[in-house]
Assembly symmetry: C2
Homo-oligomer: 265 residues x 2
């Protein structure tokens, strides 16, 4: 027997709900087309391999995403892949994986955030170091929920997060890039953080243009030395950061190049 | 619009599924009565405070658990409390919390596991250190899923887990006690692990009998010095550990006292 808020409901529990035992993708729609879909599906498949979840065939997922993308008014598709039904402990001996798909309107963002840049803050919630899960877009996101709960001021677009050792890792929902000299630097994500689809696409695009892009441990004190800082994810593309506490940066040429590519994709 | 495995379904996503944004309790039933119910409800309320989730009144939850406990054949009730509906990012500005309740048959366990003790193993999956979430029975359980996925031998009852620093913390689904001299020692859970309801009840019961119980950092090498080791959770009560790798222990008087209390509760 099962109940939701006191009402009897049918069906077993999903291990995604029970344990966060799964992965997700948040895919931007442009004119009914899913942007960077191949990258999303590749990351999902790689995450499923890491978690030993047998994913449905990519062709089925792609077809379902395409159908969801045709929903009138939809601006994004959220895809959740879970290990399947649960109810009997942690052992991952469940049956077939489940895919949850949701077509949602895009969240309105001030155009100035892309044009002039955003205000960011530094979160006090630290990210734990877990190499086994680092990089994955898995469903265990309480750290991000706690960090995003630290502020309600709608003028602040994003909060940057450090790991428990004090390294700069990411924003609550974005990856971070900084320009140091002529080099583009972005935090290594082998202990914490999510390897964003947009982050990967932009790293490749910059490298293809001959820009040196380095993924490494980043001390947040390096932000003070950066010529520009920008944030990326699959939905927003790239936002320049114009201020974080006492630090301020211009919306510089690297962020503009990133935005131009995103516009073309 | 929303789909599950390609079929259109109604309703928004639960943040419990989206982000593991919630808590759970697994409550043993004995003759239709929920064991240690007040402790489960107290832990749930404390966890909700830590996560800033507004829980439903305890009286409503208690009444619903009592109703679920009356399900014929049920041996346990699983209660999941989530922050509510989601769909729009990590910000915890959702509406009302949801409670999922499931009445399930008890999992059959070999009687010998309680009588003679269990075989345990040491997991290679390490627990991350996250003081903000340590102790809570929250829904972010991928570490436990990975650890429990390390073995399939049904003769092994449990896997013990270390944190990333190498401290002994817990089993995948149990807390750990060891007897050192006349002292009962159990790992401190301020950086990782779940503060089990049975653990808390037994610590109080031992202390009320004058036994010295210490919660502290534990080096797994101390297991070799222990006179007995036992595992606890709300469903199993207490299992002596009879062997872990090359180590072996008798089912000793501390585990027997714990089992006697559990039998009386």
């Amino acid at each position: 027997m099962r109940w939701l808020d006191g009402i009897a409901v049918a069906g077993p529990l999903d291990r995604g709900l029970e344990f966060g035992d799964g992965l997700f993708e948040t895919i931007a729609l442009l004119d009914g087309r899913a942007r960077l879909l191949e990258r999303h599906l590749a990351r999902l498949a790689a995450g499923a391999r890491r978690l030993s979840i047998t994913p449905p065939p990519a062709s089925i997922v792609a077809a379902e995403v395409a159908r969801a993308a045709a929903t009138p008014g939809a601006g994004l598709v959220k895809l959740i892949l879970t290990r399947g039904d649960g109810g009997l402990g942690y052992a991952p001996a469940a049956g077939e994986a489940h895919r949850h798909l949701l077509a949602l309107p895009a969240r309105p963002r001030p155009p100035a955030w892309g044009e002039e840049g955003v205000l960011a803050r530094l979160c006090t919630t630290r990210l734990a170091e877990q190499p086994l899960l680092a990089g994955l877009k898995h469903l265990n996101r309480l750290e991000q929920v706690l960090a995003r709960g630290e502020w309600t001021d709608p003028a602040i677009a994003e909060g940057l997060m450090l790991d428990v050792q004090g390294r700069l890792i990411c924003g609550t929902m974005t990856n971070v890039f900084m320009v140091l000299g002529e080099e583009l630097v972005t935090p290594a994500l082998n202990r914490a953080g999510v390897r964003g689809v947009m982050r990967g696409a932009l790293i490749e695009a910059f490298r293809a243009e001959g820009v040196r892009v380095t993924e490494r441990d980043v001390d947040p004190a390096e932000l003070a030395l950066a010529r520009e800082v920008f944030l990326t994810n699959a939905l927003i593309g790239a936002w320049p950061v114009r201020a974080l506490a006492a630090l301020a940066w211009p919306a510089g040429p690297f962020a503009r190049r990133a935005q131009a590519w995103v516009g073309a994709w």
